[in-house]
Symmetry: C2
């Protein structure tokens, strides 16, 4: 009987004879007695295997088995209540299925994250990246589950798009030609990679009320920071008949659902990352899970930042004024120092926000929200959408946004649009937040950044 | 109290006073008594609203409310056990939230699918497309649930890639330039859109044993058929330590899980499509759900096709020989006429399959499988992967596949690879299969095909 991923499920009785296939993570021996640490990929925790010269026939072969080799162990599953690990496998027979090369790059020593990026095809075999990508997978499922339970329809908005209203100058071109004759190109016009599925999602929200996207988006921004990648995944829910308050509740619920899911399913991974990557991780997630997110208007935030500067707070940019675009340092100060918890900043000046956001009655601000979280800054950006056809057309004119390609989108307002609100969550930002990893390159399987297209 | 999507959940008691927001789908009256059909987007089925001149103050306004307008109804939820619909709402007050334009394109008459493609931003408001996109969403969730329950790790393989080993000549180029100086381009080299996440998924399977991708893939094939799109979504599971038989079981289980999920969650939609689009739909899905899929070797299939031709069967291509690439007509004959159920065709000639497939002991065939389903043809293509480093390198040489960009992939074989198998499922093919829709453009929210980049 081959056993997979049941080892840690309390399903196996002491002294049961089992068979395990897995990869060698460490191997040491004293000539008579050996210990293998193996992992079969099905759970984060490893299995310790004890092998003895007196018990297995090929002790010398096993004693020299190299890291990452695939092996098969038959043995007795043995509870070890007094040892560090809860159980071990007493081998009765071990077979080498595939001996790894001796030049396996992940020998048992610490490697820098920078080095591991160069071997992204192997780094998930390390404990840290194994934990990160398990958590990424769980977070993705938790998000699907969250929306599914609330009856949202999942919509795959297009990746290749002819609109570039939002992403002017920052879009990748998609072509089959090596000249620029786009009218003779595959689509008969210039095509680019999407920067957001929101506009299309709004259309579907008019049919299904509550929809969400979860797919890749792209930015051709030539910025080499720890928080930007050319290719990343976004979650964009859109809810008809709803206003800004409704979607702030939705965003808060989503973040908490993800954290709860990870507590329930990835405790080993979170504990490992807390011990090895970010000592505050578990505490921070627990705090976020238990707190009611704060809400501060942009106007109040400016007053608070001005007061802070007056009282001696030094930002890199101390030139605080109403109408400015807040920087990450300001956002973090607001949620980390002032509110000490995740904070929705709402009602931004219309001039620093997108054309589709609903203008408030003051005619100066828009019904927008950014969710700022300690340690990261902006995690979510959302808004209530302008529902009035004439107002949104005027806004396009004011902001010099060409409307012909957007006509279908503007037309949605003509057919019972009433209200609609939604937000966008950068999935990698969320994964960084729930793993403690500080570089976006380390939460993406094969990251794409300027001048970097390995694998 | 506003009610959403609970109407059909048997949670509301007869004669309860409720409030509903929704869009008008039809509206008729005789001057004293009117009937509105409304839908609030949260479930497929509609709600009938009865309004009377003697009961509501604005009867004339409501009587002239146009299709797709957003309205709010207060009324008494009333069970109607003897009527066609199980309940109705007896309005006590109706408010028009947003009156739709009179030029709303979906007036109450039949529209062709071709016409509806031109208004893809609105077509999900029709019953047919509402059903299709609800089912698409459910099928996506069912797939995530299927793999999640079996402890698979979901991996987002890259969309932009530097490898084009598999997709030579059929890939879209991704660039920020309008010349072809790729060495000065964003990534410093030529980049293209992925045709498959398999190679990267294999890497992750070596760390997590069982992984799957679910993301968009691209083909720049200039073919205008009912089954091809330039952008479509694929599901690609990859399982280390597993062989061809294991992943055929996995594929069969996945198809059945999706069907079961739809039976449990989308009965209204499936019934509607059976009544209006494909009369065989429910029967076919029930049959597939109950049948054990057949297995036929390619060599046997050729013998069966030769015999069929000998007995008078006329294919468009009657030139049947061992080594040929089967066409859809042959595939459909095998599963529809001979086996009469979904059929795995296995052990194809190596020369018509990809370089990474494991060569069988006969040295002529590879451990590959295609799942052929009645009405569609190929739904799934999978294989056991060549695990021997030298054999796969030789195969690349034979097939003239350049190896430098693939070295990381080939190197996976050096570090305890042992076995690995996986398959790819075209998600839109599956959605066509479970909805009865016959054109891929009608199961994609905003389809991308040659010379077509609307929205």
């Amino acid at each position: 009987m081959e056993i997979v991923f049941d080892l840690y499920q309390d399903k196996i009785k002491d002294q049961t004879k089992i068979e395990v296939l897995g990869w060698v993570r460490s191997n040491r021996n004293n000539g008579k007695l050996g210990f293998l640490v193996i992992n079969d990929g099905t759970c984060f925790d490893d299995l310790q295997v004890v092998y003895k010269k007196e018990t297995i026939s090929n002790f010398d072969e096993i004693a020299s088995v190299r890291l990452s080799s695939a092996i098969k162990i038959s043995g007795i599953f043995t509870l070890t209540p007094t040892a560090k690990q809860p159980f071990e496998l007493q081998a009765t027979a071990i077979e080498v299925l595939d001996l790894a090369d001796e030049n396996y790059p992940l020998q048992k020593k610490e490697h820098t994250h920078e080095y591991l990026r160069e071997i992204a095809h192997l780094r998930a075999k390390t404990k840290t990246f194994n934990a990160v990508f398990r958590i990424r997978s769980s977070a993705a499922f938790a998000i699907h589950e969250y929306f599914n339970r609330q009856n949202f329809v999942y919509v795959n908005t297009p990746i290749i798009t002819g609109n570039d209203a939002e992403g002017a100058g920052e879009s990748f071109i998609v072509t089959v030609r090596d000249d620029n004759k786009y009218h003779e190109d595959f689509f008969g016009k210039k095509a680019s990679l999407t920067v957001s599925g929101q506009l299309h999602a709004e259309g579907f929200a008019q049919a299904f009320r509550s929809v969400y996207t979860f797919g890749p988006t792209f930015r051709a921004e030539n910025s080499n920071t720890t928080r930007h990648a050319a290719e990343f995944w976004m979650i964009e829910p859109e809810v008809a008949f709803s206003d800004l308050n409704d979607i702030m509740k939705l965003a808060q619920g989503m973040v908490k659902h993800v954290i709860k899911y990870l507590f329930d399913h990835n405790h080993s991974e979170l504990s490992f990352l807390t011990a090895n990557v970010d000592a505050e991780l578990l505490t921070r997630l627990q705090n976020v899970y238990e707190s009611e997110f704060a809400q501060t208007s942009y106007t109040t935030a400016i007053d608070l930042l001005l007061a802070a500067v007056k009282n001696g707070q030094q930002f890199i940019n101390n030139d605080i004024f109403w109408g400015m675009d807040l920087q990450t340092e300001h956002e973090r100060y607001l949620c980390e120092v002032i509110n000490k918890k995740p904070t929705f900043l709402i009602d931004y000046p219309k001039d620093i926000k997108a054309f589709y956001m609903k203008i408030n009655d003051d005619n100066k601000t828009v019904a927008a929200c950014d969710l700022l979280v300690p340690g990261i800054g902006e995690l979510v950006g959302g808004s209530q959408r302008e529902n009035d056809y004439q107002k949104i057309v005027n806004r396009c004119l004011e902001m010099k946004i060409p409307t012909p390609d957007l006509q279908w989108y503007l037309d949605l307002r003509k057919y019972g649009y009433y209200k609609s609100s939604g937000f966008g969550l950068g999935f990698e930002r969320l994964v960084m937040y729930v793993t403690g990893m500080t570089n976006i390159r380390d939460v993406i399987a094969f990251p794409r950044t300027p001048k970097n297209l390995l694998f």
